[in-house]
Amino acid sequence: MRKAISVKEAADLIPDGTSVMFGGFLGVGSPERLFDALAARGVKRLTIIGNDTARPGVGVGKLIDAGCVTRVIASHIGTNPATQKKMIAWEIDVELVPQGTLAERIRAGGSGLDGVLTPTGVGTTVAEDKRVLEIDGADYLLEAPIRADFALLHAHEADYFGNLTYRLTAANFNPVMAFAADCVIAESDHIVPVGVIPPDAVRTPGVLVNHLVGRAC
């Protein structure tokens, strides 16, 4: 069993200059309360890893707005003009990764695999400076695993073992990221007693979760 901590206590665990992966697809399934607390504290020089940078004022866009971020690894930044502006001004360094490759690189990082061989990106700018391996006549890129210091997740339900469930399209990158960070912090819509979530319904095993964020109050 673990005790839920306040959102401020959770944000205070994250020092300046660390790497943070976060769930969410255009803000859907993102830990909004954790982002609010991090922006309020004014954390600096974060590397953020996620599908996209949402929009100004939404999801991880709040951290972009507040100047907390110096590096982004994402598949898409087109919906957030602030990210593009800061990229052009050299305030943020952006690495664009194909969405499926991003998912698999994170999966590799969390599951003891030292790389991914994928056909995605062969013959494109994504292949620059990467090893191309020919296997049985087809070319594949060798993509490196991705891990982070912290993973910030958003779940639908959590119990006090840290078991998590997700709703509909709000799962996205959350389940895979739970494996790939040294410290996993989960924010959820509901915290329920242990035993309430049926074992088959648990999508993220609680053993992966280090901290639960308590109910909003």
Binding site: F25, N51, G100, L168, T169, N172
Partner: protein, 219 residues
Amino acid sequence: MDAKEVITRRVALELRDGMLVNLGIGLPTLVAAYVPDGMHVAFQSENGIIGFGAPPPQGMEDPNLTDAGGGFISALPGAIAFDSVTSFALIRGGHVDMTVLGGLQVDSKGRLANWMVPGKIVPGMGGAMDLVTGAKRVIVAMQHSAKGAPKIVEELTLPPTAARRVSLIVTELAVIEPAEDGLALRERAPGVEIEEIVANTGAKLSIPAHVPEMALIAD
């Protein structure tokens, strides 16, 4: 009928019963409105759902039920939701029968460019590179030219989305099929002459003796 409607009504004829289809953001999304009666097509959105439908009535949206463009959708009976790893295993693993994507350029090798314009817009590739690499069929649905400049060109001047040759190009003027030896003109839009297609195409087209007028799906 405007250009977009011609394109979407022609692309809809590529749908087959039982297909799993991924529609790109923008023009391709409109194809969903033209699924023929009695045909069952499952639509995937790469943020993690198969079996979504039109946006629900205003006020009945679920914040956790959106498409890859962030728009609210509904879940049809039998819909399933999954995470990004599963979603791209479906895409990269060849389980998606067809994807319909917009295009900035297609060249004589059938290579598609649709994710960035250097020095102008760098939105990121999102799922486009995986879709073009992994879907069984890749249909490019786009206007034939942009501000008078051909989008079908001999050699891409924009960064390619994948090395793979796309399956079919559908524009408001023509249906063009990329093959090993170049681009073949397959169909012309209603009322469009071959000369007009050639004049608006920046790559060599092989033109068979008979180029039928394209059929368009009815309402």
